[in-house]
């Protein structure tokens, strides 16, 4: 059953991603990106990373994209991007994309010639979340603390950038 679900979610993710970069209406792009995040969360579940799937939906689809839609509300210009002075950059970008794809395909098929040990030890000892938490707070404690400082810096930065001066 697993390959069926994998192909379903993978196709969904790729098609939504293509729709994200090709729609004219920004709100449609944002909504298709939410759909893509959903499919990526489903792929995480297939990979036995349930905690990460829930965090992906909670943080990415539930918070970051809501922020995006808020900003779309605030900066919406009713006319769509009709100015096409891209100077041939679009064709060059597509060509580069295809070339990148071929390169990645070559690397992937070259390095992983045989499907070696496809089901290597799914790491479940007493639940994914608990083992995840144990690893996070013992081996990776230092990056955890650094990320908290980083988030504080980002928060202060965003507030300082976007606030208006209030003259009292």
């Amino acid at each position: 059953m697993e390959p069926f679900f994998f192909f379903l979610f993978a196709a969904g993710a790729v098609i939504s991603a293509l729709l994200v970069i090709s729609r004219r209406n920004i709100m449609h792009c944002a909504l298709f990106l939410v759909l893509t995040f959903f499919f990526v969360a489903a792929i995480f579940v297939l990979l036995n990373a349930e905690f990460l799937a829930a965090v992906q939906v909670l943080v990415y689809a539930g918070a970051i994209m809501v922020l995006f839609t808020f900003v779309i509300f605030l900066v919406h210009i009713p006319r769509t991007e009709k100015i096409r002075r891209t100077f041939g950059q679009k064709n060059l970008a597509l060509a580069l994309g295809v070339f990148l794809g071929l390169e990645v395909a070559y690397i992937v098929y070259g390095a992983i010639s045989a499907p070696a040990s496809p089901a290597a030890a799914p790491v479940v000892q007493g639940g994914n979340t608990e083992s995840f938490g144990v690893a996070l707070f013992t081996r990776f404690l230092f990056p955890f603390e650094i990320v908290s400082v980083l988030l504080l810096a980002a928060m202060i930065g965003a507030i300082v950038l976007a606030k208006k001066e209030i003259d009292r």
Partner: protein, 103 residues
Amino acid sequence: MSGAVPLSYYLILGALLFIIGAVGVLTRRNALVILMSIELMLNAVNITLVAFSRFQGNFTGQIFSLFIIAVAAAEAAVGLAIIIVLFNNRETLNVDEINLMKW
């Protein structure tokens, strides 16, 4: 269908999403859509990391993915703040028109 999905399939999916994100960054002119394509690329990397984590049997990849999600949230917040300030000053989000420093 055989029982399991080999690692290379997940890697190809990650690579495809990354390429779509990269093409989006290079092709679109709207600053918001460029940010969205960057988020797409970060997700592609997350898929690759989690796939490797599962097929190697430890948690390193998943924890790195969690940190990437946290950093992506921080970056989205700051990036969107910059976009709002940019829009307030220039009235446009077309990155081609934000070229005041061009000589």
